[in-house]
């Protein structure tokens, strides 16, 4: 028989449900993590006299952005081409740390570039180049193509050394009598597709000095377009950069306002929210087939479709954070209509009073749940970290165990055990009152008054930020949503999260240079508040901020 774990063991007792965070592809822990410990105040500094740009590590574009970039150059060329897999850090796919290229990743990028180049360069290269190149090393036709194609691929005019590299490559290839002109052009396209200038958002400091530099117009353009649209700059933005019309705050504001009304920004927001609330967890999840037959029939797919439809609806309505968090509608298919109990309607439907906003939709509730029962700790921790922006990490050397299954006790009763131990209570006194308030939703997000064992559900709780600025007693997930939606703490946190997303970093309040970020966030959050939580205005506040336009560098 398996022995019992001695109860005298001085080990932190943390819910197994937190352990679900170790899901596939998630690098939350370890040296890549922020290293934060325990709850930290979310209070923003009230005085911010000297805003300065924060750290801005070299960032590699994401897979989505890479596909958009190559598709803009060669439509239809990336289908079925493998690219290094996406990793997540605290939900985010955009973190610069995750852009580090592994050995296999390097091979994948090289192979993808070769395969695409081979597919897009026709035997009659004049169809691609618009002229017929000779085998001459200084061929003008080829040089012009390098100039034009390179500028599109790198999102800026090429430097002389870059032009020289690619024209010399062509000469080298066609100078080999075993290789054809077509292979010469393939090589040039391949080299440009595999060059780091395509894959990274860079800060060129060759022509500047000083500790803080204003980013050049082309760098601003690519940062804007990859943030707002997940795409390389469009023709309008390219022209603005080429003509030096992205230097001032007004220039950037004008272009941002043009861009944020586009559906591509809505899609970006949808992707951001998926990352922010760690909704990717639903993918590949299993649920108990007996208790939740809807899962086996494709509920996870419905949930993913709902997410973009719901965010789109929010952005089309008023685009406010309050609506995202407390909307009284959902966008459903028949499967979700059954889970939500909204009747026979499809598309946009009104919700009953027990359900409000994105945190009460199946994506969040099922994604932060086990196979049979809700995961109150996971739901609570996600709200604390992501919605309240409080650093909270697992202690090192933790012995994870779970409260034993017991059909005579509710989840709340079983999990209360960890609060009896003062080692655990430090965090769980904060996590559980939020997590338990979602107990009126089961493991796929259906509302319930009784749990899987027929016991009556107690969904009372308390939504409280560590500094007490938010402190509301609640009963049920809808009241959690309302409390969060109304809170300036949450609004400020959302601004922080989107700012971190724009910067490609998971911001920490306790990092050595946190004060710099806190200062930038406080200004952006103030503008967001002035707009009454308009998400598009938040994007304008971010792209026009000093933090976005400038960079502090170490040479």
């Amino acid at each position: 028989m398996a022995p019992l774990v001695p109860s005298s063991r001085r080990a932190a007792l943390v819910s197994v449900l937190v352990a679900l965070a170790g899901c596939v592809g998630d690098l939350d822990a370890g040296p890549l993590g922020s290293g934060g410990r325990g709850p930290v105040s979310p209070t923003e500094p009230t005085v911010c006299t000297d805003p300065a740009p924060g750290a801005a590590p070299l960032r590699r574009i994401t897979e989505t952005q890479w596909r958009a970039t190559v598709e803009a150059l060669f439509p239809g060329s990336t289908g079925g081409v493998a690219f290094p897999r996406t990793l997540y850090r605290r939900g985010y796919r955009t973190d610069a740390v995750l852009g580090e290229v592994s050995r296999d990743g390097s091979v994948a990028i090289g192979d993808a570039s070769a395969a695409i180049a081979e597919a897009v360069v026709p035997a009659d290269v004049s169809r691609l180049l618009g002229c017929t190149p000779t085998t001459d090393a200084a061929d003008a036709c080829l040089a012009r193509y390098v100039e034009q194609f390179g500028a599109r691929a790198f999102r800026r005019p090429l430097h002389a050394e870059e032009r020289a590299t690619f024209t010399a490559l062509y000469a080298d290839l066609v100078g080999d009598e075993a290789l054809s002109v077509q292979e010469g052009v393939v090589g040039v396209v391949e080299a440009i597709l595999a060059s780091p200038q395509l894959h990274y958002l860079t800060t060129d400091v060759a022509d500047s000095d000083g500790e803080v530099i204003h980013l050049p117009d082309h760098a601003i353009a690519e940062r804007m377009s990859y943030l707002l649209w997940n795409e390389p700059p469009d023709e309008t933005l390219r022209a603005a950069a080429d003509e030096g019309r992205l230097s001032s705050r007004e220039d950037i504001e004008r272009e941002t306002r043009r861009m944020v009304t586009d559906a591509r920004t809505t899609r970006m927001i949808s992707g951001f929210v998926e990352d922010w609330l760690e909704l990717h967890r639903v993918r590949g999840m299993t649920k108990d087939p007996t208790a939740f037959p809807a899962w086996a029939s494709g509920l996870a797919g419905s949930i993913q479709a709902e997410h973009e439809a719901f965010v789109t609806q929010v952005m089309n309505d008023d685009g406010r954070l309050h609506t995202l968090l407390a909307a009284d509608f959902a966008v459903v298919d028949p499967r979700l209509a059954e889970i939500y109990g909204t009747g026979s309607g499809e598309g946009r439907v009104a919700l009953g009073p027990e359900r409000r906003g994105i945190l009460n939709l199946s994506g969040f509730l099922a994604g932060h749940a086990g196979a049979t029962e809700p995961a109150p700790v996971l739901r609570g921790v996600t709200v604390i970290r992501q919605v309240l922006c409080e650093d909270m990490e697992l202690p090192v050397g933790l012995a994870v165990t779970s409260p034993p299954q017991d059909p005579t006790r509710t989840t709340r009763e079983r999990f209360n055990a960890h609060r009896a131990d003062p080692v655990c209570a430090g965090c769980h006194d904060r996590i559980d009152p939020i997590g338990f308030a979602f107990e009126d939703f089961d493991a796929v997000g259906e509302h319930r008054n009784r749990d899987e064992n027929g016991l009556s559900v107690d969904a009372t709780g308390r939504v409280r930020s560590v500094d007490g600025a938010l402190d509301v007693r609640v009963d049920g997930g809808a009241e959690v949503a309302d409390a969060l939606a109304a809170s300036p703490v949450v609004r400020s946190c959302f601004a922080r999260q989107v700012f971190g997303y724009a910067e490609g970093r998971v911001l920490s309040r306790i990092a050595s240079d946190a004060a710099i970020d806190n200062c930038a966030v406080s200004q952006i959050a103030a503008q967001f508040a002035e707009s009454d939580g308009d998400i598009r205005e938040l994007l304008v506040a971010i792209t026009t901020s000093e933090a976005f336009r400038e960079r502090r560098i170490e040479r």
């Binding site: 398996a2 965070a21 596939v24 592809g25 370890g30 390097s106 400091v205 590949g284 087939p289 007996t290």
Partner: protein, 442 residues
Amino acid sequence: MRPDKHKTGAFTLGRRAFLAGTGGAILALPFLESIHGTARAAPGVPRRFLVWHQGQGTQWDRLALPGATPESFTMGPILEPLAGFRDRLAIVRGIDSRAGNVSEGDGHISAIAGTLCASPNRGAASIDQLVWDRIRVAGQRSPLHLAVGRTARIGRFLSAANEPVESEGDPLAVWDSTFASLTVPEEDVTRRRRRRLRTLDAVRESFATLRTRLPSEDRARLDRHAAHLDEIETRLTATRAACEAPTRPLGYDHNADWVRSANDMFDLTIAAFGCELTPVVTIEWTDDHDPAIFSSYLGGYGNWHEMVHSGEGMRGIEGLATSYRWYAERFAELLTKLDATPEPMGEGSMLDHTTILWSTDFGYGAGHNKNSMQTILAGTLGAGVPLGRMLSFVDPENLWEGSPMSNNNLFTSLLHAFGARDVAHVGYMGTGVSTGPVPGLL
């Protein structure tokens, strides 16, 4: 692929003989072996290394129990499918993953971050890479990382500190990336290589140009990427294997049928070994948290992970051991295939020349801890090393006590088995752990 394919001259001596001619003294012996064919392989190191990783630990009392002597151990119900391979196993019982225990994160994350790299927080390359560094010969590709389940980059396998590699779950994708080039005419491969090597030089130049324009912190990051360009060259210049590509697997939903996809992966493993494409393969069960496949063993109760936590007896179900045993059945299928494959470089079977490490994340699944782990080695540990033994260091009943042995010692032994006797100790040096190899194993 059918085992008999190996008898059709697929693995001729061509490639290794070529390598021996250019690669130096280390290859002289295999070269002579391959020339002289029937000579008994001299006492020596295993030719290949295979890591099999399955999550969620095990139940030690149902896996195997020690007897009065190392040879008299008893195999429990979990290992029943491996009864026929009893004398091909070495079970190491009661060693800790010290590095896992001091890694950050919960039970899963810390196990992932510290077990196979034996250094805290993904602080070093994993054991597959360490072995590969020792036994590869020029022209061989880096370890082949396979998954049963979804393709994932979980972070157990690392090519270097903090560089997790991806395990590919689609057999078709593995074939395309590993064997497709064998079907391309030699002339096309040569032309492509000519172009790509020159192109790669231009890409290197692009990195160098960009580098000069970046601030120093960015340069360091770019340099880490640039360093990996060498791997592209390594693969482009890899000697073309003198063997046939295995049959291309059909496209299908590999997540829907793990028995089938696992067997496809076994075939691809054997083909990669047989073609000498790489001496190291890893097979990782990437959907180990709540595999839906176990629900039928659990009385329709789908939550395998909670079952693991709760130990057994929950709801009166005896399904835990049945589920662990399911992995053992797959492992037995792998060993059977390896054993049915004639060793292409010598006598005996491929199994006789392959060291297999069966690792898992936890000692005691219910505790999700990394103490008192049970690790199974199979195939060979080198000529003259007896198998059919269990070495037991602590009784897992006392799992909180801490073992004097850690997987650092085990990995040290593995490197020694592969001839790297100069290695004093692999990875983490925790307190209370002796350094060096596991005594009595080799």
